[in-house]
Symmetry: C2
Subunit: 285 residues, 2 copies
């Protein structure tokens, strides 16, 4: 199928991300429906006019009419849903997701797809420090990255439709990575940074420091407000890549610490010059 | 002396911070002069109209007419200047600084003051990732913290004048800490965060990751563009406090790493809940 404004889209899981998808797609005129275990989420989405129909049940009719099904569930919930209900999905339906880890999941999900149904993985690199459909906002996709994560079994058509979805959602940059490349990258730029922010915040009871913190401390700890259930699941599902990144960071940080302990001014300056040079690349984009 | 718009202010060291001070004070109508070793900095400041007079020499007349002298030099340069020229400062002059470390410096600087001259230390917690008077901007003080750092020998009048200076400069919060309290705090909220940002940036040649980084990586590494000469000096001058903070962070980060390695989901979640609770204090301010 070629994704366009006439496609019928079913979103399974109507939280912050599912809701933001619905809001973005509704603006284009897509026929959007939703399945959520929370009646209040369905009610909100119907009242806001961002879905035309919704159910708290695994509604066979909603599944059957969908051209595209987007899963906005936590990773283990997603996998459980697929194992239990994937047989209900009709041939020629395209299935995608928003999961933040890939290697441990994508090929298994693909293996449960009925004949004629294709699952193409994707990772929208956007979010907020709050959850729930009531906090959903399609503007979080502006300026953000959308990554299509195909395996060797995906068709060019599915990859193309998934890229088009990213464009409809309003992402700025859309790229393609293998599941393994994706997980190594995400271990570094996203999961490691969350580990650092959490550790910095748990270092001490810094209540009394609120009056003295400049921008740097606030910037480094913004993401320390974190959904503990979701992120511990993401960390565990990307364990080996994340451990590699954490160990590399430990090595670098310990090396800087030892230079300070040994009064190695030149060593510290060399590290600072390297970090300055590398960081400048990011400001050129 | 009571600081007001009729006071004559001499700024020694006309870089990013000295220039930003001059811009902020000039708006109030202060008579601002400057000493800088760069003729181009003096020329820029005269052309911009943010000083009325300036010299690349240690100008006796400029020093003699000043009611307030503000040192905007690097820590070791500052200390060297004081040792060499402090005798030129006239009685009843108030002297202050912008240095980012205090314990190792403040009492020594005070010991060199001639009779009748008072040095009151201060730390403006503001800056930019660029240097030089041409990049100076008084708006960097908006919303920022100004810390007055008196010792037991300072007078209430000098502390009050220094607080007034912070207000004239446009700082949002002005507080008072001892040199030791200041250094412990700054080791945590500023120096440790810079160590983390530098280490994260030196972890790997992340040139190819520019397309995939979300806000979190950019936020955590913004301060990785760093003045290597200044910051290595600041680190070394606050070595013991900074090492304590680095070791505490290493302990927390390693503990999170070990929880991941041991599949300790509940332990990770507890850390994330603690960090979320603590970070929320910062968003209430």
């Amino acid at each position: 199928m070629r994704l366009d404004e006439n496609s019928k889209v079913l979103i399974v899981g109507l939280g912050l991300m599912g809701g933001s998808y619905a809001k973005a797609l509704k603006r284009w005129g897509f026929h959007v429906t939703a399945i959520s275990d929370q009646q209040s989420s369905i009610d909100y989405a119907l009242q806001e006019g961002i879905i035309v129909d919704g159910s708290t049940e695994v509604d066979h009719a909603l599944i059957a009419e969908a051209d595209l099904i987007i899963f906005g569930l936590y990773p283990t919930t997603f996998l459980h849903w697929i194992k239990t209900y994937a047989h209900l999905i009709r041939p020629r339906t395209l299935v995608t997701d928003i999961t933040g880890v890939k290697s441990c999941l994508v090929r298994e999900v693909q293996s449960y797809m009925p004949k004629g149904v294709e699952f193409i993985a994707a990772h929208p690199m956007a979010g907020r420090e709050v959850s729930g459909v009531e906090n959903s906002d399609s503007r979080i996709f502006q300026g953000a990255n959308y990554i299509v994560v195909p395996t060797e079994t995906n068709t060019p058509e599915a990859i193309e439709s998934c890229k088009r979805l990213g464009k409809f959602l309003g992402f700025e940059r859309i790229s393609v990575l293998s599941p393994e490349e994706h997980d190594e990258m995400i271990g570094f730029v996203s999961q490691l940074t969350h580990c650092i922010a959490v550790s910095l915040m748990t270092c001490s009871d810094s209540h009394h420091l609120v009056d003295y913190t400049g921008d740097s401390f606030r910037d480094l700890t913004r993401i320390a407000r974190i959904n503990d259930v979701l992120w511990s699941e993401l960390f565990l599902m990307n364990k080996s890549a994340l451990l590699r990144q954490m160990d590399k960071f430990l090595e670098e940080f310990s090396s800087l610490r030892d230079m300070l302990a040994q009064d190695d001014r030149e060593g510290m300056q060399a590290k600072m010059r390297l970090s300055t040079e590398r960081r400048s690349w990011f400001d050129q984009k």
